[in-house]
């Protein structure tokens, strides 16, 4: 049996203090525990916002300096695939939000099923992204020695594609981490680990997943939809 620092079994400790399973000793109530977890997760997400914010700032600077190169480069991206992926990712956010609701209402099996659906949708997004990357490699639109671009200002078109690969690549890395987390949480949810009182890990994973969706909501118009008229 697990025990705390004083060698008291945790179960006995919980019974003595009158707090239930799933409530850590240093919290007064489930509500306080949940608020702390939420606040901690948001603090992390704010650092992530600033992390991606630096890339968006670089994008803003170079787009304002070389608008023609950015416009021409953006036209080489597939608006159909971009829109499809946007729909897939927003749908995965819905299934994630519903999975968290399943945790809130004590429906672990339903939450697990919705989490599996979420990671399937996330995987679809990554597969489509993979096909898009493949096309960029075939067309020599990857910055570097073999870069080739027919449009105006090919030199600065490389800046667009550098930012494209950096921003979507970093976003995709977050998706891979998210998919691993979702798979783990799905397994735990199926085993009944989450109760209406404490499903903080599930909720935190949900916040992370929605954050990844938020980044894409801004990436999509800025990368795919420039100067289409």
């Amino acid at each position: 049996m697990a025990s705390d620092a004083h060698g008291t079994p945790l179960g006995a400790d919980a019974a003595e203090h009158g707090h239930g399973a799933g409530l850590a000793h240093h919290f007064d109530s489930y509500e306080q525990q949940k608020d702390s977890a939420t606040l901690g997760m948001w603090t992390f997400l704010v650092t992530e916002i600033l992390f991606f914010g630096g890339l968006f700032a670089a994008y803003g600077v170079y787009r304002s300096l070389y608008p023609e190169a950015f416009r021409a480069s953006s036209h080489t991206l597939s608006i159909q695939l971009g829109t499809f992926n946007t729909v897939v990712l927003i749908a995965s956010s819905l299934t994630m939000a519903l999975a968290v609701r399943g945790g809130q209402t004590g429906k672990g099996k339903l939450a697990a099923a919705l989490l599996v659906l979420t990671l399937i949708l996330g995987s679809v997004f990554l597969v489509v992204k993979g096909f898009e990357y493949h096309e960029k490699f075939v067309e020599h639109h990857v910055p570097g020695a073999s870069f080739h671009f027919e449009g105006p200002d090919a030199l600065h078109a490389q800046l667009f594609f550098s930012l494209y690969f950096l921003m979507t690549g970093l976003h995709a890395l977050h998706m891979v981490i998210g998919i691993v987390l979702v798979a783990y949480v799905a397994k735990r949810a199926w085993g009944g680990a989450y109760t209406p009182e404490n499903h903080n890990f599930l909720e935190g994973t949900g916040l992370y997943w929605h954050f990844v969706d938020l980044v894409w909501i801004f990436l999509f118009p800025l990368l795919y939809l420039i100067g289409r008229h």
């Binding site: 819905l94 209406p196 118009p221």
Partner: protein, 99 residues
């Protein structure tokens, strides 16, 4: 049922709104609005982000500390954009190369 559980219709309503905004932003990209195109696209993205944050991420109805943390982060992001714009926007005003 605990008080903080949102009704299902909220989730599906937000999802439909996000889909409508996606259709709107793709359509708007094909209309020539001049420089306003970028701001329309960013405005729609901000509206979508607000819906996700408030309803999918449960910031609405949560402890008030959360919006404080988010807005403080966004404030520093705003400072980054502001000073970058002030720098790049005013280069060349002195007529000296590189200044």
């Amino acid at each position: 049922m605990p008080a903080h559980v949102q009704p299902l219709k909220v989730y599906f309503g937000v999802f439909l709104a996000l889909m409508a905004f996606t259709a709107l932003t793709v359509s708007a990209a094909f209309v020539n609005l001049g420089p306003a195109n970028t701001f329309v696209a960013l405005g729609i993205a901000a509206a979508k982000a607000t819906l996700v944050i408030l309803y999918f991420m449960h910031v609405k109805g949560n402890t008030k500390l959360v919006p404080v943390v988010i807005l403080s982060g966004l404030f520093f992001l705003f400072l980054l954009f502001l000073f970058l714009a002030a720098d790049y926007g005013t280069r060349g005003w002195l007529g000296v190369p590189g200044r």
